[in-house]
């Protein structure tokens, strides 16, 4: 099924977005904790971030005029592939250490793989992105893998 992924599309593997740097504040943790209806005091008081807080931190912030009619910023790292319909893929996380107020985090997002497969109902393409989150000092915080399935 490798003919599904052209040589041109394959060139995208290994490409990365510009790193995103984020200073974590107690207030940001509290907002997230309230919005997600956390129960533990350490999250509600903003002493520590809930594990999934970091996953929501690396979204791009662009000027309002650059948002699409759907409200979203332009997508990046999207190669031209023959299958267009996006199905929900999976997300997995490996946590190295909790995030606390004052942390300065750096996110690096890379298109890590594109694989064509034969599914039960037809061809599928799996596009995998990896997001590595470290502190500015290079301490590992979180590894995230996200897979988008195209059919």
């Amino acid at each position: 099924m490798n003919d599904l992924v052209s040589e041109e599309a394959r060139q995208w593997i290994g490409k990365s977005d510009e790193p995103i740097e984020v200073e974590v504040t107690r207030r940001d943790i509290i907002k997230y904790s309230v919005a997600t209806e956390q129960i533990l005091d350490k999250f509600i008081n903003g002493d520590e971030a809930p594990p999934m807080f970091v996953a929501g931190l690396s979204r791009k912030i662009v000027p309002i005029d650059d948002l699409g009619s759907d409200g979203l910023p332009p997508a990046s790292l999207v190669p031209d592939l023959p299958l267009k319909r996006v199905m929900a893929g999976g997300v997995s996380f490996r946590f190295h250490r909790p995030v606390k107020p004052g942390d300065v985090l750096v996110f690096n997002r890379t298109l890590s793989n594109i694989v064509g497969k034969k599914g039960k109902t037809g061809p599928l393409i799996f596009v995998t992105y990896s997001i590595i989150c470290e502190t500015k000092n290079g301490e590992a915080v979180l590894d995230q893998e996200q897979t988008r399935i195209l059919r």
Binding site: K42, L67, V91
Partner: protein, 136 residues
């Protein structure tokens, strides 16, 4: 929590979540997600053809992670967590998050969990897994 008191198949406490317009606004503002399917009802129905405002997939991911963090509290650490948004959920639905112990390694104190979010029809919308390390 003592690892000796835990057993494979043991259920995690179930928690119910019902998103509101206000809670979805707060969540999407907090993560800076301007996608209109989470607040613009007319657009959501007419342009993207959903039956109602859509509950964010990652918000359900967070609720799933809370079945673990609330259960272990300060007695352990979440090492790994994964989920898959298999079925969309919409404003007005009450979702239930739960899970059970899949394996216990008494040498390393590592526990594997299987997790789920179900809708009111008992369909699993978001399955997940987690690995935790208990401190004692």
């Amino acid at each position: 929590m003592k690892i000796a008191n835990l057993s494979v198949g043991q259920q995690l406490p179930i928690r119910h979540f019902k998103a509101s317009n206000v809670s979805l606004f707060c969540y999407n503002a907090a993560i800076w997600n301007p996608h209109r399917i989470h607040y613009d009802e007319k657009y959501t129905k007419e342009i993207e053809h959903h039956p109602e405002i859509v509950i964010d997939g990652p918000l359900q991911g967070d609720w799933l992670s809370q079945t673990v963090t609330n259960w272990i509290s300060d007695d352990g650490n979440l090492l790994e967590f994964s989920y898959e948004n298999r079925r969309a959920s919409f404003l007005g639905e009450t979702l239930s998050a739960g899970g059970e112990i899949k394996s216990i390694d008494y040498d390393t104190n590592i526990i594997e969990l299987v997790l789920y979010i179900k809708n009111e029809k008992a369909e699993v919308t978001t399955p997940g897994t987690a690995r935790v390390k208990i401190k004692n």
